[in-house]
Symmetry: C2
Subunit: 120 residues, 2 copies
DNA sequence: CCCGAATATTGATAAACATCAATGTATTGG
DNA sequence: CCAATACATTGATGTTTATCAATATTCGGG
């Protein structure tokens, strides 16, 4: 303990010289913060944001890997890697049809992420 | 629709065997994606999310470092480091009054971040 | 049943990151 | 001025991350 603050009990006297609030503040729990951070980690990369943008605006709302490799100027394994991160984060849905894998936005996932920020 | 792809505008020639769309898709630019990724990088850490939550819900809408070190169970330098990242990302505002540094939310910054996701 | 195409996985490497201890800086009170 | 307090910066360290080349897997066609 480094300083005066943190008076959990007995605020009574006041005349408090400290800088700090009464420490009764409601805080985002560590576990939930961890879960939410995983989601934003998935969004914290330029190429993944571009992937989401391309998929969202693609005709039919879906795109295969071959649609995504060229515009990003990344190798195919790297694109697959990013797509896996987005799927694991619950942002993209993957459907294999024949040889191709089609990726589409999970409905409401981006709005949910946005909602987290608004309600922090 | 078993396989062949998403041709929106039917660009004449083609006879294309590929799985891919005509590559006319509007894409989030690399530069803007980079800027936006910086913002989400700042949000992609549990402790920084908790910092934002504490500051937002603090009495008076502001909190000093001593309010933040204890609930996160991090060293003071680490908290200062995270706060700097949030300030650099445009999410927090820093005001020094006397010996203390008070941090507060930049108005609308979180909503702007949320808006990016909605409008991807 | 084998071949080629589309995608996924593995292994390696360099860069970025989170964290703390130690130290620096600035400001207040005596 | 001096000392103490609040915060920032620096340096070091272990972990995570982005990327590619090489390889594996899976599927449709002949």
């Amino acid at each position: 303990m480094t300083s005066l603050p943190t008076l959990e009990t007995a605020p009574a006297a006041a005349a408090d010289d400290s800088c700090c609030a009464p420490a009764g503040t409601p805080v985002l729990g560590a576990e939930e913060a961890g879960r939410q951070a995983l989601l934003f980690k998935a969004l914290a990369d330029p190429n993944r944001l571009r992937l989401l943008s391309i998929v969202k605006n693609a005709g039919g709302g879906e795109a295969c890997v071959c649609d995504l490799t060229e515009p990003l100027d990344l190798s195919q394994p790297t694109v697959s890697h990013h797509l896996k991160i987005l799927v694991d984060a619950g942002l993209l849905h993957r459907e294999k049809r024949g040889t191709w894998a089609y990726y589409s936005l999970v409905t409401g996932a981006l709005d949910d992420a946005a909602g987290i920020l608004s309600k922090l």
